[in-house]
């Protein structure tokens, strides 16, 4: 293939706001979507293993003994609202409003931290009820699944605080809006995983 033909193959994507790529879309965003697609398989494995062993524990405590639905509902609401503050942060940087970007990034990180604090409280309460990762099949599958999700949320908080710090130092100008969008995609993904966990694990008896 000649150099001219190769150059012709590379789409002119200037109107789409990123350097020319073979696919015509941003490579970084494409990588994040591919990563999120693969994460569906990871969380699918954890959720289906929980479902497979549900009702198979031969010793307690059982889910009905430890779940606190009103408390988890509030936690779920907090995480859901953090998705709103995340899109508002993206909207702010796209409008070149750096002050609001920082406010919404910090609000998202705080809501995420509240969710994690709730999860730590829930885990501690389960341990006080006698449920640990070693107690029974319910304990093993529950702690691994929700623990993995909690680690993802924690990594998201680290990402958000890094973006906030970059913005404070003037390293996150409006031209880098796509960086905030990509971090936002990850954040919304942990939210949709929790939507599934909340329904399948907590609400369906």
């Amino acid at each position: 293939m000649t150099v001219q033909a190769m150059e012709h193959d590379v789409h002119d994507t200037r109107h789409e706001g990123h350097p020319p790529t073979n696919t015509g879309v941003s490579n970084e965003k494409m990588a994040m979507w591919a990563f999120l697609g693969s994460e569906c398989l990871l969380f699918g494995a954890l959720i289906s293993t929980y479902l497979l062993y549900r009702g198979h524990s031969v010793v307690g405590p059982y889910p009905k003994d430890v779940y606190d639905i009103p408390f988890t509902s509030v936690s779920s609401f907090v995480l859901l609202m953090s998705s709103l503050t995340m899109v508002l942060a993206l909207s702010a940087i796209q409008r070149r409003d750096e002050r609001r970007l920082r406010v919404w990034l910090l609000a998202t990180a705080l809501l995420g931290s509240t969710f994690i604090a709730g999860q730590i409280y829930e885990f501690t309460s389960f341990v006080h009820h006698g449920l640990t990762i070693h107690t029974n099949l319910f304990g093993s599958t529950f702690f691994v699944m929700t623990g993995f999700h909690g680690v993802h949320v924690t990594l998201g908080i680290v990402m958000l605080l890094t973006l906030w710090g970059m913005s404070m130092r003037g390293q996150l100008p409006p031209e880098k809006a796509e960086t905030v969008e990509i971090a936002g995609l990850y954040w919304h993904f942990v939210d949709i995983v929790w939507i599934v966990i909340f329904t399948v694990v907590y609400l369906i008896k």
Partner: protein, 118 residues
């Protein structure tokens, strides 16, 4: 044109293009209010067995699917973005659903064949 100025030019266009294609802040707030209402409905349904045990499970799964789809479409902008992103995510999602439904069916998770505990 230098590399830096070209990158700057693309980045400038990035913010402008995104600003035109993504929904307004009011739409985001309405979507969040809708999600909060659906979550409240889910919790309400879980306490009242509407349509029996299977009916409640079906309702809860439908509501979770609606919330999932709404976040992906509006907050993750999959409804407005390039079809490539949609294809990538749907491929992973459908693959996960297919693999794990097959896995659970093989181990009789839906029929309760191997159930022993309470």
């Amino acid at each position: 044109m230098t590399t830096t100025s070209t990158e700057h030019e693309y980045a400038e266009m990035n913010t402008e293009t995104a600003h035109h294609t993504h929904p307004s802040e009011m739409v985001y707030v309405k979507v969040a209010a809708f999600l909060a209402a659906v979550t409240a409905l889910e919790v309400l349904l879980s306490y009242n067995n509407v349509g029996g045990e299977h009916g409640t499970i079906a309702f809860l799964l439908i509501l979770a699917a609606i919330k999932f789809g709404t976040v992906v479409a509006y907050f993750m902008h999959l409804r407005f973005d390039h079809p490539w992103f949609r294809r990538l995510f749907i491929t992973g999602f459908v693959l996960a659903i297919g693999v794990y439904v097959a896995y659970l069916s093989t181990l009789h998770a839906f029929t309760g064949y191997t159930r022993k505990g309470p």
